[in-house]
């Protein structure tokens, strides 16, 4: 049963069908959103039972052909993708009402899903380049779907940064191939002693991937892009697209580059992550619009991800640090998607998202605000959410490896997150005699937001099961 191939082919088929027959867009999207999570669950079960899975596409062994590789890490990312995009698809079905927008939205959405699935399953560095481009182009086209001047400029900026990053990554791939004669990650795992080509290739690939992951100082494209995109698009962009390039960086680091790279590089990435946390949180505090606040919160949370690298430098804490970082990925994805979907319902109801004018809206839309509250709990890092587990694992790793300064940063980040979350909360939950009028929101939109927020909490409660899935196939 060739499950990885089906996971990649199904959204591609859906994309082609929605291009050839544009009127079928809506129900093809819903159908795919139901089928793919089921297939992913089957793959999860198979990985848990059998360990890592390797597939030669076309039957050709490496280095001749392309390999697909599925271990606990890839399958966990696939499951995350299925959950977030699945919920957002139900949301998007009610959100997009114009005929012309639907005609463009569904193919782009399915291509985005196909790109993510192909990326998480790929075991070949050039194949990763093609999936990165597929991902980047579909994300840009989706951002531009709002058709406002701000959205178009944001999309253009995003595209230029994305292309520069891809080009840098491709140069790294070219160097690696010229030096080693193979494109397969498994084969590259056995490369020889440190050489200039390895370090330069890593520098190029890391620079490209960091640009695409919006790590400080390459974060400038993210806030306008995520703030001006339609709500379900922002949700998936913040939750999954920026994590995809981070995932590739983690894979390359773990499987190929780690023994050869100077430990000070890891500390540098951690420092950039620290700046991202502080800068992003401060800008979120100053933001006037809700979606902009949430976008800057993404910039801050991405900084946490890059703390993986310095925290995993000592062998005894490496495992804890990796699990903490990946828990961050999962819980942030669910929480941030929930928050963006909730922000989308606010815009749908009231027509704007200026924070200072959203008084007391909890009475109009209690479900969305509850979703926002639960997601906020995870973003701040309070128990029993997934965000709490992630920060706790990080603090453990930081103190055990003697790098106590990172724990200060994590606590500071939590305080800043509390500040900007409550900035919106205090308005939304305030008691105001006159409540703003708004139009009714379809129930499905509010409930998908709540569902994703519950996932973020659920991740905290089921930590043992999730970590068991993560460790299947021994990715670390």
């Amino acid at each position: 049963m060739n499950l990885p191939a089906w996971i990649i082919s199904l959204p591609l088929l859906a994309a082609v069908v929605t291009v050839v027959l544009p009127r079928t867009g809506r129900w093809v999207g819903i159908f795919t959103a139901i089928i793919i999570p089921l297939v992913v669950v089957l793959l999860c079960v198979e990985i848990l039972v059998q360990g890592a899975l390797q597939m030669q596409v076309g039957g050709w062994q490496a280095p001749l052909g392309i390999q697909l590789y599925a271990d606990g890490l890839s399958v966990a990312m696939l499951a995350l993708t299925a959950i977030v995009i699945g919920c957002s698809t139900f949301y998007a079905r009610s959100y997009f009402t114009g005929k012309a927008t639907s005609r463009s939205f569904w193919p782009l959405w399915m291509f985005l899903w196909a790109a993510l699935n192909a990326l998480f399953l790929s075991g070949d560095i050039f194949n990763l380049y093609v999936t990165l481009e597929l991902l980047g182009l579909s994300a840009v086209a989706l951002v531009a779907l709002s058709q406002t001047a701000d959205a178009l400029s944001a999309a253009m900026r995003y595209l230029l940064v994305s292309l520069t990053g891809s080009l840098s990554y491709l140069m790294g791939v070219a160097l690696l191939y010229a030096a080693n004669g193979t494109l397969s990650i498994k084969m590259l795992a056995t490369v020889g002693p440190a050489s200039p080509s390895l370090s330069t290739a890593f520098a190029l690939m890391a620079a490209g991937l960091i640009m695409k992951s919006a790590l400080f100082p390459m974060h400038f494209w993210l806030p306008p892009a995520h703030a001006n995109a339609p709500a379900p698009v922002s949700a998936v962009l913040s939750a999954l697209v920026v994590k995809a390039s981070f995932y590739i960086l983690v894979r390359l680091w773990l499987m190929i580059f780690e023994p050869f790279i100077n430990p000070s590089t890891a500390q540098l990435m951690g420092m950039l992550g620290a700046f991202a946390v502080i800068w992003g949180s401060v800008q979120a505090l100053l933001a006037e619009r809700l979606k902009l606040l949430v976008a800057y919160s993404t910039v801050a949370q991405i900084g946490y991800l890059f703390l993986i690298f310095p925290l995993s430098s000592t062998p005894q804490t490496a495992h804890t640090a990796w699990q903490g970082g990946l828990y961050f990925v999962f819980s942030h994805a669910c929480a941030k998607a929930a928050v963006f979907l909730a922000a989308g319902t606010v815009i749908y109801a009231f027509g704007h998202d200026r924070i200072n004018e959203l008084h007391g809206i909890v009475r109009r839309m209690p479900v969305s605000m509850f979703a926002f509250a639960l997601a906020g709990v995870s973003l701040i890092g309070l128990p029993p959410s997934g965000g709490f587990i992630a920060k706790w694992l990080y603090l453990n790793a930081a103190l055990a490896s003697g790098q106590w300064w990172w724990s200060g940063l994590i606590i500071l980040g939590g305080l800043l997150a509390t500040a900007y979350i409550f900035r919106f909360f205090s308005r939304a939950f305030s008691y105001f005699p006159e409540v703003v009028e708004g139009r009714p929101v379809p129930k499905i939109m509010e409930w998908t937001a709540l569902g994703l927020a519950l996932c973020a909490i659920f991740l905290g409660l089921t930590a043992p099961a999730v970590t068991e899935l993560l460790n299947a196939g021994k990715p670390f």
Binding site: V140, A144, A149, M156, L163, T164, L167, A174, Y177, A287
Partner: protein, 102 residues
């Protein structure tokens, strides 16, 4: 210095030139052109790397990579140009406005 290394170095120089122009110029069309020049540099490097075999025939894998890369680059350039044209149509200027998002 043998011939493949010469072409590889030229590819690297093109990459650098494109990167410089991308950063310096503010007109969108120049940025898109700069990205294309950089892409051409990377493709030149790949094709030259294919020539480093000892036999008479070059290695076909970099050639396939370049073919794929060219198609991807054309797709990306077309999307970028369409966006640039639309930005010009909507806002009247062909440069990314530096407005802080409120």
């Amino acid at each position: 210095m043998n011939i493949p290394i010469l072409y590889e170095l030229v590819g690297v120089i093109l990459l650098g030139m494109g990167l410089y122009s991308l950063v310096i110029y503010s007109h969108l069309f120049r940025k898109i052109l700069a990205l294309n020049v950089s892409g051409a540099g990377v493709f030149l490097f790949l094709v030259a790397a294919a020539d480093r075999t000892s036999g008479p025939l070059p290695d076909p894998v970099p050639h396939a990579m370049v073919l794929t890369g060219i198609v991807v680059a054309v797709s990306a350039t077309a999307l970028a140009l369409a966006l640039a044209c639309r930005i010009h149509q909507v806002s009247g200027n062909a440069q990314l406005t530096d407005n802080k998002p409120e």
